[in-house]
Structure formats: structure tokens, C-alpha cells
């Protein structure tokens, strides 16, 4: 079977605006979903869950969130870590205050709370752009970390200043705490990642997504066709922060189990997620997953090959990792701002025409 559109005719406009216009793409996507839901949970072990799949899924959600803001709506943000912290602390406060309500509901609520906070910090975007907005969101990052450190109410006055996730169950299955099983952790994150990616896809292909992209590409023209810049920018901040908040909630509740804000949600997080967006591809849902996968897998891969396989010292491997990431960022920023997603698209274009390229 060939990968191409000949013979794959679209007879309705709804067919034409599908997420995966080519049937083969669609089938590949369903196959991935089927494996993710029906196979992986039965084979995943603790190592794969903790070092690969769970961080990948959580970062994919955060990257998707930042990509909506930066890739689709064109608003730079360095506050991702801070917004993840909001999601984490909101979950912590909610679940310790209302332990009987499902943790899933708390995580979603934490997303909404982060959305509100994100919109608040997004207000300056109406006046300032680019570099100045980046600095403003950087201020948000430092302010939020400072706030969660300084106000003991947020960490329930614990002596260590840390927040620790109590054990919570979903359908009788333990999903948080130290003794949670690998499949449970993985499945919770998978459900959130798939559901949120679907929502993000719908929003970005519809009218709201077009408004975001219009603001990104030319804000003056956007306004003239009827885009209210206030609404477009604030919805972008809101949706973006919603996703990032849920990522932060999962990062704390399912992945870490206990967190100290500066360490878990510091400025490094903001940069890491931004790099994932850049490497994966600005303005692409698929790219968000690709970027997250790449930067989660790279250290694991290097550790196994360089340290495990070739016996390099760990710190040298870490330096190599930094250099590779740095070089890739420069490469993608200069050569291919649409990232891995675009490389993938180009490969598919070639395949479509193969074996007759002209």
C-alpha cells in the first residue's frame, strides 16, 4: 500500500477539515492509540513508567499548553514552571481540603485555577509584545515560586516547606502516592494527554484557533476582520495555562509525589518546555508530542549508551546532552522553526510523491 492521496477523495467539507485527511494517517493514529491503551499498560514496568512514559506524557501536555500560547497565538512565555506550580499547589490544597472528592476532578479544577492565574498574568500582553512580554512572564515565574515558598498556607504549614501528595484512588485503583503501580500512573497521564490533545486540536482548527493565529501573524489585520485582541490573547493564555496547570498537577501528584517548588517548578522547567516546543515545532499538536518525547528520551538514551554502554562518566554525558540540546535549539530556530513536526511533514510529502518525485 502506498502513502498518498490519489484515490482518497473527499466528498464533503467535514471530511476535508478532518484532523488526519489521509486515510493511512488516520489508521496509523488509531493504531498508536490502540497500542497505547491496550498493549502498553500490560507490559509497562516501573523503569519505563518513571523514566520515560509518565514524564513524556506530562511534558507533552505542558508543551501542548505552551505551544498554544507561543506557537499558535504568538505570545512568548517564560512562566511555564510557575504555572505548573499553580496546578500542583491547587491540586494539593484541593485534595487536602476535600479528600472525598475524586482526584481527577481536583486535577481538572486545578487546571481551571491555573487558567485564571494565567489570564491574570496575560493581561500585560495587551500592551507589550515579544521581548518585553517574555520578561513580564519571567517575573510571573519568579513571583509564583516566591509566593509558594513564602506563604505557609500553600504547603499546609509543613515543617519542610514541601508539599506531599496523599494516596488517592480512581475506581478503587491507587493512582498517587509512593506505592502506586506503573500501569496506573501511566494510564492516568495517558487519559489526560489524549483528551487534552483532542481538545487542543479542536480548538486550534476552529475559529478560536484561527483568531489566535491571526493575532500571531498580524495583529492589525486580525483586528480589522473582527478579532477582539483582548479576547483572543486572554483565551490563549487561559487555554494554555489550563493545560500547563494540569501538567503541573500530574507532575506533582502522579510523578513526583512530593515537591519543593523552586526545585520542581523553577525557571529550568520553563526553559525545558520552551525547548520542547521549539524542537517539536511551533504551532503543531503532533510537534508538541514529538518535542516532549525527544527531550525526555535524549537523556535516557545518552545515559544508556554513553554511561552504560561506553563507560563515560555521568557528568560528561550530562555535558554532551546540554551541547546536543543547545545545538538543536540553534538549528531549529534558524533552519526549521516548525521543528520535528515539519521534518515529519516533509518526509510524508516526499512519500506521497514517491516513487515519481516530479
Amino acid at each position: 500500500m502506498f502513502y498518498r492521496e490519489a484515490g482518497d477523495f473527499k466528498t464533503t467539507y467535514s471530511d476535508d477539515s478532518q484532523t488526519f485527511p489521509l486515510q493511512l494517517d488516520r489508521m496509523g493514529y488509531y493504531a498508536v492509540l490502540a497500542v497505547a491503551f491496550l498493549v502498553v499498560p500490560f507490559v509497562i514496568d516501573d523503569y519505563w513508567a518513571t523514566s520515560v512514559m509518565v514524564p513524556f506524557l506530562i511534558y507533552a501536555i505542558a508543551t501542548l499548553g505552551l505551544n498554544i500560547l507561543t506557537g499558535y497565538a504568538g505570545q512568548v512565555s517564560l512562566g511555564t514552571g510557575g504555572f505548573m506550580a499553580v496546578g500542583a499547589y491547587a491540586t494539593y490544597k484541593l485534595t487536602t481540603s476535600f479528600p472525598d472528592i475524586s482526584i481527577l476532578i481536583h486535577i481538572v479544577l486545578a487546571g481551571f485555577i491555573t487558567a485564571l492565574v494565567g489570564m491574570l498574568f496575560g493581561l500585560p500582553s495587551l500592551r507589550i509584545k515579544g521581548f518585553y512580554l517574555a520578561v513580564a512572564t519571567l517575573a510571573a515565574q519568579f513571583f509564583l515560586v516566591w509566593l509558594f515558598n513564602k506563604v505557609p498556607w500553600f504547603y499546609n504549614y509543613s515543617a519542610s516547606g514541601q508539599i506531599t501528595m496523599p494516596e488517592r484512588t480512581v475506581l478503587g485503583q491507587l493512582v498517587t502516592g509512593p506505592s502506586v503501580s506503573a500501569p496506573a500512573k501511566y494510564l492516568v497521564c495517558l487519559v489526560f494527554a489524549v483528551a487534552l490533545a483532542w481538545l487542543a486540536r479542536n480548538l486550534t482548527r476552529g475559529m478560536l484557533g484561527r483568531q489566535w493565529m491571526a493575532i500571531r501573524d498580524m495583529d492589525i489585520a486580525a483586528e480589522i476582520i473582527g478579532v477582539n485582541p483582548l479576547k483572543a490573547k486572554l483565551t490563549a493564555f487561559g487555554v494554555s495555562s489550563f493545560l500547563i496547570g494540569i501538567a503541573g498537577a500530574l507532575f506533582f501528584a502522579v510523578y513526583l509525589g512530593a515537591a519543593e517548588v523552586g526545585e520542581a517548578f523553577g525557571i529550568n522547567k520553563s526553559f525545558l518546555v520552551l525547548f520542547m516546543v521549539i524542537i517539536g515545532g511551533l504551532g503543531s499538536i503532533f510537534g508538541s508530542f514529538a518535542g516532549a518525547a525527544f527531550l525526555v528520551l535524549l537523556p535516557v538514551f545518552l545515559k544508556n549508551v554513553l554511561v552504560g554502554g561506553m563507560g563515560w562518566p555521568t557528568d560528561l554525558a550530562a555535558h554532551v546532552e546540554l551541547m546536543i540540546v543547545g545545538a538543536l535549539i540553534v538549528f531549529f530556530l534558524i533552519v526549521e522553526p516548525h521543528g520535528l513536526a515539519q521534518l515529519w511533514r516533509l518526509t510524508k510529502e516526499k512519500l506521497r510523491l514517491w516513487p515519481f518525485p516530479h
Binding site: 481538545l199 475559529m207 483568531q211 501573524d217 498580524m218 489585520a221 480589522i224
Partner: protein, 297 residues
């Protein structure tokens, strides 16, 4: 793009569009009338009264009044820097004039943001193309339907009920415009990759997608070759003819202006120096002086 060559003030090539002179003095008699080629010109749609616009110390528009009547093609001409684009920017809400009143459909318009003006049914194109380069032609044109979309964020997020139905309904309208402007083959092309002439056409398509009551075109033919200009002229006439859209356009090519427009406003150094049918304007001494570069007082 200055119009210095005098022959461009010669009579239009296609006299079919020359109109039966209607009442041109605003405020006076605004009886509807029918043009020679059978288009109905109605009452005053937009009335600009004593508009003055300053940028710091510079007066870009000096106490200008004119009106735009329903169904007509109204040209605004004048040398570079005369204030034509500024005038369109006042109409579309980019600039708020320091003095004067803007009346639309019989109501005085308060200061409005451009996106609010869009919702009144006023669409426009720009002198320097202002498309969304990262989006496809189709998505660019779809944005033009924005003011007519009703589904809320939740419906769009779930792609459910109204959201999908609306998307399809609007897509059908947009496809009609795509057919009309003969750009079917570039539907899915990112706009950034298109040549200049096609970009201008896509920008017109986006403005038309809004089904505007008043369409503002800022130099729709600037930088085009003869063939592209002819296409564009035809599209403008067809829009006006078939949809009855009122059009105000800025253009430097005098031949085009004389062919297309029912009435012409002439500006120079922020002042209005002429207003009337193409024939009247052509024979107006002040206009001839301005174009021939007669020294200003």
C-alpha cells in the same frame, strides 16, 4: 506610484461605466438613481463630516467632508501623502479623528475599535498586504467569517453541535468566494508562499468573506501588471454589481479610477480639492493643478 503623467487624466477607456450624474452635493438631494449600466445607487451609507486628523503637529486630514452612497463605487484619489490611507483608517476605526463626525447608516458613530467597526459590516484591504502568512489561503479567508460565527469555546473544544455545523456552513460560503475569485487551486497553500498579485486577491477574498455592506480597498491594484489589473477591476465591478456592495477605493491608476468609479473625492495635502463624477473631477482646475504639480501657496 504618483500620478504625474498628464495623459492619465484623459477620458476613461471603457465609457460604459461612466455614470449618469447624480446629486453629488452631500446633504442636498439624495434621491436614489440608476446608473447608465443599471446599478441602483441608494441613500447615504457613510457620511464623513468635517473630519480633522492630526499626528502630533502634522495635519494629515484637514476638515474634510464627503459621503458614500449605498451601492456606489467611490474613489479617493490624490498624490502621495495626501491623506487617503489616513481617511480609510478613520473609516475603519484605526484612527480616531480629533474633530468631525462619522455617520454610518444614519447613526453617528462614537469612537470604536477596529474589531467593533468590522462588526458593523465594514471590511477592508490594506495598501501593504496584511494577510496571515502562516495560515493557508482557506484559513485566511475563513477568518473573514469571524463576525458571523456564533459557537462558543466549549462547543469548539468538543467540536460538537453548532461548532461543526457552523464550520461547514461557512466553508460553503467561502468556497463560493474562492470560485468567484478563481483561486481554487491555491486553497491549501500557505499564504506566505504566494506571489504578490495572488496575495492581493486573497486579501480581497478575506474581506468579501465578511459579506460587508461597505468594502474599503486601499490601492487594490498597486504593483500589478496590466493583466492582473484587468482581473482585479473585473472582480471589483462584479462584487459591486452582483452583491450590491458599496465600495470605497483608493487608486493611483487614473484610467482604472475613471472606469470604475461613480464618484471621486480628490485629496491633496490633507485637503479635499475635488468631489464629483469622474468627468467633473477631470475638468476641475484645482485637481489638474495638483496633479501637474503646480506650486502650492
Amino acid at each position: 506610484m504618483t500620478m504625474q503623467d498628464s495623459h492619465s487624466l484623459a477620458p476613461g477607456r471603457h465609457s460604459a461605466r461612466t455614470t449618469t450624474p447624480g446629486p453629488v452635493d452631500q446633504g442636498a438631494d439624495v434621491q436614489p438613481y440608476v446608473t447608465a449600466d443599471g446599478r441602483r445607487i441608494g441613500g447615504v451609507l457613510m457620511d464623513l463630516r468635517n473630519i480633522t486628523l492630526r499626528f502630533g503637529g502634522v495635519e494629515a486630514i484637514k476638515n474634510i467632508s464627503f459621503d458614500i452612497r449605498e451601492g456606489e463605487i467611490r474613489a479617493i484619489i490624490g498624490p502621495n501623502g495626501a491623506g487617503k490611507s489616513s481617511m480609510l483608517n478613520v473609516i475603519s476605526g484605526f484612527y480616531v479623528p480629533q474633530e468631525g463626525e462619522v455617520w454610518f447608516k444614519g447613526f453617528r458613530r462614537g469612537p470604536m475599535r477596529p474589531y467593533q467597526v468590522a462588526r458593523l459590516g465594514i471590511a477592508r484591504t490594506f495598501q501593504n498586504i496584511a494577510l496571515f502568512d502562516g495560515m493557508t489561503v482557506l484559513d485566511n479567508i475563513m477568518t473573514g467569517r469571524l463576525t458571523m460565527m456564533k459557537s462558543n469555546m466549549l462547543q469548539q473544544a468538543l467540536w460538537w453541535g453548532t461548532a461543526e455545523r457552523e464550520e461547514i456552513a461557512h466553508r460553503e460560503k467561502v468556497e463560493k468566494i474562492i470560485d468567484f475569485l478563481e483561486i481554487q487551486n491555491i486553497r491549501k497553500t500557505p499564504v506566505g508562499r504566494l506571489p504578490y498579485g495572488l496575495k492581493k486577491r486573497v486579501e480581497l477574498a478575506r474581506a468579501l468573506a465578511a459579506e460587508p455592506g461597505l468594502l474599503l480597498l486601499d490601492e487594490p491594484m498597486a504593483g500589478m501588471n496590466v493583466e492582473e489589473k484587468e482581473d482585479m477591476s473585473r472582480f471589483i465591478l462584479d462584487v459591486n454589481d452582483e452583491f450590491g456592495t458599496t465600495i470605497a477605493l483608493i487608486e493611483h491608476d487614473m484610467g482604472v479610477v475613471m472606469d470604475l468609479s461613480d464618484r471621486v473625492v480628490v485629496m491633496d495635502y490633507g485637503r479635499k480639492i475635488g468631489d464629483g463624477t469622474p468627468d467633473e473631477v477631470r475638468n476641475n482646475q484645482a485637481v489638474i493643478d495638483a496633479y501637474l504639480g503646480v506650486a502650492h501657496d
